[in-house]
Symmetry: C2
Subunit: 304 residues, 2 copies
DNA sequence: CATAGTTATGAGTAGAATTCATTAATAATA
DNA sequence: TATTATTAATGAATTCTACTCATAACTATG
């Protein structure tokens, strides 16, 4: 009766607090999940979720099943790693090229876990700037690229990760603090604080400012914390992923504002060579990354 | 990809050592399992089973999945017990009437586990002889009957447990030791050692001897070990389930012979009132009993 | 009060898991 | 050695069920 799909659904419900968001998370329709829930509830004779206005909440029973889900899915993943070990497909290299600097925040713990699970895989971060990161894959300079490119190229697979919003980050006392939404024009006279990468790699500039003919001053810093410190001390404005600044915003260290009426969004993909895509350790890496991101990063949206 | 049904199949394969027997165990066709196995193998790129002449053997990968199965299915059962607790359907009574004396061998450890899992359920064995045990259910004298009756009666549900063979048990030096198969006539001059129950409850007498007009002498003992001791010391012949005497036969304490060309078989059912059947603790009891029996008793066959 | 966001539900569909029918292979029996 | 009885594998057909679609009912928000 109970099936693994139910468990996956339950964790998604738990993490999203909404049937429709959970549906996106598991790549099904809202209706499908609603049916699943109904079946479960009538089978156990217990409510699993409880409507709380807009969103939903898990009942005690629901929470118990989420706990089960955690254990079971974990054990399955472990078993599948062991199967890879048995089939001796356990070595190789995973050199990661990171297009999005902030991503290092969530990537680091995942890399740590990965090293534990796949001691024979050579794990590395490919440093330096690369104008065409996908080319790196073809040339053998990297095994995966984490970036926003997703154009079809032969021999390349793009695994969708998630969509996220880029917010403008300001000092709490900044003169623009009154505006709920910042427009391109608001950036005319400010210093933009960014990572040290070319302009075409900064979404705010490429998608918003340059089309509007605005070219603000730039100042760079290597680390997210350094950028935030500069922002907080009135050296300028930054544009960073919502999940990358959440804790700073929550502590009123900085404030965040939407860019443009519908916001500035960016998509993240994990790109690999087609051959690499089937390797067990790559599948495991992908799975862990997705799970970890959806579990820990707020405000991200699943991609097709 | 991997589904719970695969795990159930894997344990069945492990316990039976044969695809067709495993199929019976999970109530599917041999073909279905064969397809399942194929899917799994091609998905993991690994053989799961290996043909060993008639029977099959699990590969290392298969064994790893069986281990997974054990853990996962166990955790699910535990979670479902907790759900019952949450829905407060956790108390009631489970008074068991045992028609088959030998069954106590496998029932006892199950009862011990049950007591742990359902401390609020009043667990008991109903003692004494009952001419119509099913009537006990209707009269409220017992909650479940473990026996071989399965005639349809309104308000009663018979949950099939398994089919087993009843073997004649002889002292190793018995004069009949030369015969591979015993016929009714062979019992003409022997003493039959049985549990202290009426003749109509002894399958050997009801199905074989009485139809052949043979009425051997009887001597009774309460316990299986006592019966076997009498047999070993040449006081007579007994007729007991194959799984009940396995260890004694393996140690050459007694020998066992088939009764009639196709053997003497008996079916076991767990019968309850329809209302009782839906209680969580009853479902749990049934599930545990089936699993335990198929895991530990050799030579039993699943029923429809 | 309209609108954009939810969740719930019944009907229809598509896809996958199972059965059926058959073949090939292995072990037991004569 | 031939014969019979089991067992597993495979492809085609079928059955079933989980999903999508379309829609209704409902809730917050401006």
């Amino acid at each position: 009766m109970l099936e693994l799909r139910h468990l996956r659904t339950l964790t998604a419900l738990h993490e999203t607090g909404s049937v429709s968001r959970a549906a996106k998370r598991v790549h099904l329709t809202q209706s499908a999940l609603s049916h699943q829930i109904k079946v479960l509830q009538s089978h156990y004779g217990l409510p699993i979720i409880q409507r709380r206005g807009q969103s939903i909440e898990l009942t005690e029973a629901g929470k118990r099943l989420v706990a089960l889900s955690g254990k079971v899915l974990e054990e399955i993943q472990t078993a599948e790693r062991d199967l890879a070990r048995i089939s001796q497909q356990t070595s190789g290299s995973l050199r990661i090229a990171l297009e999005c600097h902030t991503c290092f925040d969530w990537l680091m713990p995942i890399m740590d876990a990965f090293r534990q699970h796949w001691p024979e895989v050579e794990l590395d971060l490919v440093s330096g700037f690369h104008s065409d990161p996908i080319k790196l894959l073809e040339e053998g300079g990297a095994d995966v690229v984490i970036g926003s490119e997703c154009q079809r190229r032969r021999g390349i697979v793009h695994h969708p990760l998630f969509r996220f919003e880029i917010l403008a980050v300001l000092a709490p006392e900044h003169t623009l603090r009154g505006k709920r939404i910042l427009q391109a024009a608001d950036f005319a006279d400010v210093t933009l604080i960014t990572y040290p990468v070319p302009e075409e790699r900064i979404d705010l500039i490429r998608k918003v400012l340059r089309p509007a003919g605005i070219h603000p001053q730039r100042r760079t810093a290597e680390l997210t914390v350094a950028i935030l410190q500069l922002v907080a001390s009135h050296r300028g404005i930054a544009a960073l992923p919502s999940w990358g600044i959440k804790s700073y915003v929550d502590h009123d260290y900085v404030i965040a504002r939407r860019i443009g009426a519908s916001g500035l969004w960016s998509d993240l993909y994990v790109s690999t060579l087609k051959e690499t895509a089937s390797r067990p350790y790559l599948r495991d890496f992908l799975m862990t990354a997705k799970n970890a991101c959806f579990a820990t990063l707020e405000g991200i949206i699943p991609l097709a």
